[in-house]
Amino acid sequence: MQINDSSGSTDSGLLGALRPGRLRDHYLFRNLRSSLRLYLSDRLTVVFLAGFVLVLLAAVFGPMIAPYPPDKVFITSSGEILKLAHPSGEHLLGTTARGQDVFSRLLIGARPTLFTGLLGGFLVVLIGVTIGVSAGYYGGRVDDVLMRLTDFVFGIPLIPTAIVLAAYFGVGTWSTILVIGCLLWRNNARVFRSQVLQIREREHVRAAQMLGASDRYVITRHILPNLGGMIVLFFALGTGLTIIISASLSFLGFADLSLPSWGLMLRNAYNSGYMASAWWWSLTSGFAISLTVLCIFMLGRGYERVHETNVSEF
């Protein structure tokens, strides 16, 4: 991929691309365009992309487009709280045991859920890539130490640890994300390492090293671009897993109870005792989590497929 950009001048990186005339022809953008075309050629991917965009829209505009304020308690004409109303034109997904509109709460819940997931996914990939690439590229003692660390982290059971930490140190959104991020990277660090072990033997890497390129240059220009597909895939997986795990923690009550995420919604429905009768309340939030994670996973897989095709074309 780098070969395309053979101008060889010092400003051939992203900075050079910022010059207006060259922006369109920069290899990154050319790649992006053709990748996108390839990406969207698969009909299933388009479906999942649409689903994800829908969730994204709900996360960004949710509070604005929600039909009612999420905490508003509805009262019937006879003066009682409108508890567990069936779905109707007025309340698309009925009401909760407290008489709140489920659909509005579902829309509002998209933001904290997605935000937690994306941030967790970012953290997971950041740590995983750093550790995996360092171990694979430098080898030797660095590799040994980092891989034993990974082994060690593999021995830490994720959900129990998160429960204990939340119980002893108190709960908060940030700490939950931090705990998840600091444990989940173990899944991808090993994969990144083994990839780097292969990539660093390639001729273009060897050539760059022989020409005296610094480690930083080789890693950022020759190693990381070749990990692109995998980074996106693991970002997607990390995001999805973070959403699932933080929903699990919310369900157990180890979450910021003021943040109306979908996991918390599920907990409220389960604890209310009306789980079975008020399916529009308990099942919708669960399916919202499930389908969101599905879309994210499948988009990641789709991207990996495109990336592989791209690479093999060269």
Binding site: P160, V164, S248, L252, G263, Y270, S282, G286, L294
Partner: protein
């Protein structure tokens, strides 16, 4: 020789790893804010009483003394006393562990068998609708939080259809009339067992399905498969051959998945009110029952390390071509 050296090294590393985790757990829990004694204090005990409790548990001694005492106790199979039940930790944890394993192990095994079969079926039908779209159901299951699968099953089979009970391990009558292992022999137990078991099966089918599908796709393009087709071997015979060759990756991940399943079971146990280690963990956390939590973590961690160890060894046995690290 080198193979033996590798096994020996791997064994030593695993044991050291468990030891390191145990030590880490010991100190980590000592540095956690708030132990059982402070909880007593919050509940209105006088400082003198708390000091007495601390002395009784040996919490007033220096950390390194506590550590070596704990080490020597562990070496003798004494994991300490549970604070909340006032019983030896082992007697608290083991029955719960038994209840968890009886769901987790058969559940994961059945999931692997069914998942591999489905995955193989998908992989062995090139260009069929099944190959293209059959992957969606396992993916949906794989991206659903496990406790939500449980909630779904409870809603449908317990609340709507009324076929199964809504939780717990057995009815009160059975619980009072049996003790120890006897409970597993009652039909009432198995009646309660069905839904949690199904949840585990559904949850863990995802992984073997994906792995098997990929593996079968790879194997069916190998020469022996073509050769067998040319020979005119029956469809079923060929399928069996392909299954045999393709199952290696699935078999090798089985120990690791079994190992992690035990911690993934926490949520399922909560949903079904199942008295396993997940529930015990939660009550212990709320009671700040450190010895119990610490021991459970050690068990889970040791389980995972041993699982990974088995995988590494299995790899070298199944495929001797795998290069052994450090050579």
């Amino acid at each position: 020789m080198s193979q033996l050296y590798y096994y020996a090294r791997r064994t030593v590393v695993s044991i050291l790893l468990i030891f390191a985790i145990a030590t880490f757990l010991f100190f980590a829990f000592r540095f956690m804010p708030g132990d059982y004694a402070t909880l007593l204090l919050q509940q209105g005990a006088s400082p003198e009483q708390v000091a007495k409790v601390r002395q009784m548990w040996g919490l007033d001694q220096p950390l390194y003394v506590q550590y070596f005492k704990w080490l020597s106790n562990m070496a003798q199979g004494n994991a300490g006393m549970s604070r909340q039940f006032n019983e030896p930790v082992l007697e608290v944890v083991l029955p719960a562990l038994r209840n968890s394993l009886i769901v987790a192990l058969p559940g994961v095994l059945v999931a692997f068998v069914l998942g591999s079969l489905y995955g193989a079926l998908m992989g062995s039908r090139p260009n069929s609708l099944l190959e293209k779209y059959g992957i969606i159901p396992p993916n949906i299951v794989g991206t659903t939080p496990d406790f939500f699968i449980g909630i779904l099953l409870l809603t449908v089979f317990s609340a709507w259809l009324g076929w199964f009970p809504s939780g717990s391990i057995a009815s009160v009558d059975t619980l009072t009339s049996t003790s120890g292992w006897g409970i597993y022999l009652t039909s009432d137990f198995w009646y309660h067992y069905t839904l949690p078991f199904l949840t585990v099966v559904i949850k863990y089918m995802y992984y073997p399905t994906l792995v098997m599908r990929g593996s079968v796709v790879e194997v069916r393009n190998q020469e022996f498969a073509t050769y067998q087709r040319l020979l005119g071997l029956g469809k079923w015979r060929r399928f069996r051959h392909i299954m045999k060759h393709a199952s290696l990756p699935v078999v090798t991940v089985l120990p690791a998945v079994t190992a992690t399943s035990i911690s993934g079971l926490v949520l399922i146990e909560i949903v079904f009110n199942w008295p396993g280690i997940g529930q015990l963990l939660l009550t212990s956390v709320f009671a700040r029952d450190t010895p119990v939590i610490q021991f459970m973590f050690l068990l889970i961690a040791a389980w995972i390390v041993i699982g990974n160890f088995i995988v590494d060894i299995a790899y070298t046995i199944i495929d001797p071509r795998i290069t052994i690290e450090g050579e």
